[in-house]
Amino acid sequence: MKPFEHFAPDSVGEVLDLLQSIPKAKLIAGGTDLLLQMKQGSAQPDTVISLKNVEELRGFATRKARFRLGAGMTLRGITRSPELKKHFPGLVYAASVVASEQIRSLATVGGNICNASPSADLIPPLLALDAVAHIVSRDGQRDIPLADFFKGPGKTILKSGEILLSLFLPQPSGNMFYSKHAPRQFMDLAVVGVAVRLQKNQGMVREARVALGAVGPTPLRAKKTEALLTGKTLTPKLMLEAGEMAADECSPIDDIRGSAWYRKRMIKIHVRRNLEALL
């Protein structure tokens, strides 16, 4: 690893000032993605700005019928929050299947999102929950639906000088389930990740969200599948069809973690299984 300068400011203001004066600086939250990239040489920043001491990045709170999730919240923090467990059990589950307790106590939700890995476990559930990214910079702030946040593997819409401050989550309607398919129980990256949220009225699906991880350059919403489900009553046949449609909608590649055919098949199985769980 190359030597680098390290700053640890206490406030968002200072972070933004530093970013303005050193535009090439890299932000580090838990460092569980970045440090690895620095060790392997794929990231070689001269300056690293730690977000650890920034109070404003932490916490989970209710704000006017929606929830605010600080980007600096650790995954362990998520799994330990009674509030989150009450309102977003599916998200808490997704955080609990990341890596190990040791990693989870460093890793943050903001890091998971901004690292923009196609297999990141928190992204499909957050997509299914219609999360909005709250972004700030010295020039102001903007709110972007998380579905529009990703541009490719490791690439986001964040511009130089911008940081992800928090996520806004609307009041959840209906239940959301996430399932992660990986050979090992823990310490494994998702071969596929599937989040499904359904809002139902007297058995009829009023709103559906199907979000898929590790089957394309970014985590994605399976919109055709969502449309297929909307306005219908769940039947075994419909659930099977939804699985098949989601598999058609994604475009996985063959890599060391799984072949394309296998990933498609797992999407089919897990979409169906999640729907069954939501019956």
Binding site: K2, P183, R184, M187, R257
Partner: protein, 755 residues
């Protein structure tokens, strides 16, 4: 039977507290004043001619002390086919080939500098599998040979054609066994230092200090007598350190040129790319049996890709032929193994040494036969089990043998039927697999011995100086227990010294499940000699004949009840005119023979260990995911010197075996490792481990120390076989290619469904 005071007791490893509290000095912790750091530059191609090496940029980097290339060393060759050299000069033959090294003030700068070395190549055609390597006009990998074919090992007993003619059922299966990595917690590390008189001292995590002296001498063009090897605490080796590898001489070359001590430490990625791997094998077995359940024949042929340079992987056929010829009673056996050079990875020794491979194909065939015969797989094995005090066709003298007891123990457990799975897409199954392992060394060198000295000091403290090496297997504890038993002192009073070639007597190395057995016998002999001296002096003090005395709790006791403390006896012997110290010495070389070099017949081990495992699995038929619910391990261990240590070996072995069965594989593409990290190379973690039940069968070996046999390797050898048989039982598909990943299982289920 005599009650033991130290042997057979459950004691935590004596070195465990320091290891778990971070006090032990591992190789990677080791520092010397003024020590610099090295890094190696590897090849960028699988096969290429080196046209030019430009080191100027690396040399110019601030913090770099020097750069070494082949020009810094006499042209030497090492390895048992003399086909490897420390640094490559003209041609690179694999991606792991070492071309140059940098010494710098820290590892980071050294690693940065190796990237600055500019190498011009002429790319040569390369071969990445056995078939291509054996094709006519294939590029020749080693220039001094006529072809890439290295060696054919053949073995025969009986007449396979006759065996097949006598068979009522015949099965055939082709299996493909993968590369796997030792994945020791500690990666390869070495510190080299020359003194002013050009004596070399190495701090090395080697498993073969005495052979390394010799091999290094050859690699460096210097006399082994000027090489001293010290072994710091070793963080796992599992066979990885059983041979000389280029990084050993390179460290010395660096230290020589830099004129200061140099440390070379592999990154995890290097460990995967440049370290040896378990030997991959492609093998076809045909086997037969009669309707009455008697085995008739086995016919096995295999190919082994040994990479661009030969290491121990190429000798694993010797072990595989042992399983093929002698595990269960088979009247007719034919075995053929072809080892072939390619531009792939080096294959070395690894825990089990051929057994995980041979157990997989032999036990797959056993289950296939049992199914065709309509027999219960365990009863079928009992009928054909090896028996005590028999000599196999191959010449293995099987003395103690608990195989049938292992099988019967499993049969008893199998009476409890598996609970059906909770959901229809989950299917459960049960399978067994076994192994025949050498139980106390294997004579592959002219000596399979180990030396030991036991000394007792004036305070009653006992030192055992043993030739053997501690690599985490717990040898220090069990050796101390044996010496403590003989001298009747507390185990805590015995310290084991085992880390300096200038101090300890010769030992062939730590391999072949031999340390408890061979080093144990040596330690016992030395302790008995020391005890004789103690009794001699005590008899004067107590006025009783030496053979009437007994030792108990640090006291020497006469028949009349009078006693004297051990330390007092030692002082009395020491502090007198013409005084003597108490020390016993022994060299134990087991009563075995080298196999005949053509027929491979011969008794290579003084004892044979047997193990059976039974796996209960649950297969998700929609995802292919296999979960092992329970693993029952029944092992013939002779005697447990320390039951807790035996459990540690078996459970640790199970972890390795489960990885081999289900998740571990070093994936290579055109000779390059694609998953050199612990994200994509999947070891079983504690969360994945099933419940394990240990059944220790104590067959009390006549030659083993206190009846013990080796147990170090057996735990990992038969897991994959048990798991594949269990998967077949669950879903009716036979997986022939570990690791049996979800994707492979699902593909097999699809093939079956397609008819």
């Amino acid at each position: 039977m005599k009650e033991f005071s130290a042997v057979g007791k459950r004691i935590p490893k004596t070195d465990a507290p320091d290891k778990v509290t971070g006090r032990a000095t591992y190789g990677q912790d080791f520092k010397l004043p003024g020590m610099l750091h090295g890094a190696i530059r590897y090849s960028d191609h699988a096969h290429a001619r080196i046209l030019n090496i430009d080191t100027s940029k690396a040399e110019a980097l601030e913090g770099v002390k020097c750069v070494v290339t082949a020009d810094d060393v006499p042209e030497t060759r090492f390895g048992f086919y003399k086909d490897n050299m420390p640094l490559k000069k003209d041609v690179v033959r694999s991606h792991r080939d070492e071309i140059a090294g940098v010494v710098a003030v820290n590892e980071m700068i050294a690693r940065q500098a190796v990237k600055l070395i500019k190498i011009e190549y002429e790319i040569l055609p390369a071969v990445f599998n056995v078939a291509d390597a054996m094709a006519e006009n294939a590029p020749l990998i080693q220039p001094n040979r006529d072809s890439n074919h290295l060696i054919t090992n053949t073995y025969n007993h009986g007449d396979v054609e006759q065996g097949e003619a006598e068979s009522d059922v015949v099965v055939e299966v082709t299996c493909k066994l993968p590369y796997v990595n030792h994945a020791s917690m500690e990666t390869c590390v070495i510190v080299a230092k020359f003194d002013h008189s050009q004596n070399l001292t190495l701090w090395s995590t080697t498993q073969i200090p005495f052979l390394l002296q010799k091999d290094l001498g050859a690699a460096l063009g210097m006399s082994p007598k000027n090489i001293r090897i010290l072994q710091p605490t070793i963080g796992g080796a599992f066979g990885r350190e059983l041979d000389i590898y280029p990084y050993h001489p390179i460290a010395a070359i660096m230290a020589k040129k830099a004129q200061v001590p140099v440390r070379l430490c592999f990154s995890r990625e290097e460990e995967f790319r440049a370290g040896p791997q378990r030997q991959p094998v492609e093998v076809t077995i045909r086997a037969g049996a009669k309707n009455n359940g008697d085995l008739t024949f086995r016919d096995v042929s295999m190919t082994l890709d040994v990479g661009a340079y030969v290491s121990w992987g190429s000798t694993t056929p010797m072990v595989m032929m042992e399983t093929t010829a002698s595990f269960y009673r088979v009247p007719h056996v034919r075995f053929k193994a072809d080892c072939v050079y390619t531009n792939n990875l080096i294959t070395g020794a690894m825990r089990g040494y051929g057994n995980p491979q041979s157990s997989f194909y032999v036990e797959s065939a056993m289950d296939m036969l049992a199914e065709k015969l309509g027999m219960d797989p365990i009863q079928f094995r009992i009928q054909n089990a090896n028996q005590p005090n028999t000599i196999t066709e191959q010449g293995l003298k099987i003395t103690s043998c608990g195989l049938e007891d292992c099988l019967k123990a499993l049969a008893e457990r199998a009476e409890t039927k598996l609970e059906p799975a909770a959901q229809p897409h989950l299917k459960r199954g049960r399978g067994v697999g076994g192994t025949l392992n050498v139980g106390g060394g294997a004579r592959i060198y002219r000596s399979d011995g180990c030396g030991a000295t036991v000394k007792v000091d004036d305070f009653g403290h006992v030192s055992l100086i043993t030739g053997s090496t501690e690599i985490g297997q717990g040898s220090e504890t069990v050796l101390a227990q044996m010496v403590a038993e003989i001298l009747s002192v507390p185990v805590d009073d015995v310290r084991v010294i085992n880390s300096d070639t200038d101090v300890k007597m010769w030992d062939v190395g730590v391999h072949a499940s031999r340390t408890t057995f061979i080093a144990g016998n040596a330690a016992c002999l030395a302790a008995k000699e020391a005890l004789g001296q103690i009794f001699e002096t005590a008899s004067e003090l107590l006025g009783a004949s030496p053979d009437s005395l007994k030792a108990e709790n640090g006291q020497i006791i006469a028949p009349d009840g009078k006693s004297v403390s051990l330390s007092k006896v030692v002082r009395s012997r020491h502090f007198r005119s013409g005084g003597q110290m108490v020390f016993g010495q022994a060299f134990y070389d087991p009563p075995t023979e080298l196999v005949d070099k053509d027929s491979y017949h011969g008794n290579i081990s003084p004892a044979y260990g047997f193990g059976m495992q039974m796996a209960d699995v649950e297969v998700d038929t929609e995802t292919g995911q296999v979960r092992v619910l329970k693993l029952i391990c029944a092992k013939d261990i002779g005697r447990a010197i320390n039951p807790m240590a035996v459990e540690g070996q078996i459970e640790g072995g199970a972890q390795m075996g489960l990885g081999y069965a289900l998740s571990e594989e070093v994936v290579i593409k055109e000779g390059k490792v694609m998953n050199p990290n612990f994200v994509d190379y999947r070891l079983f973690t504690s969360a994945d481990m099933p419940e394990i039940e240990n059944i220790m069968i104590e067959s009390n070996d006549p030659e083993g120390p206190f009846g013990a046999k080796g147990i170090g390797e057996m735990g990992s050898s038969c897991v994959a076989a048990a798991v594949t048989n269990a998967i077949y039982d669950a879903v009716g598909v036979r997986l022939t290619q570990p690791p049996m990943t979800p994707e492979r299982v699902l593909a097999a289920l699809d093939t079956k469904a397609a008819g």
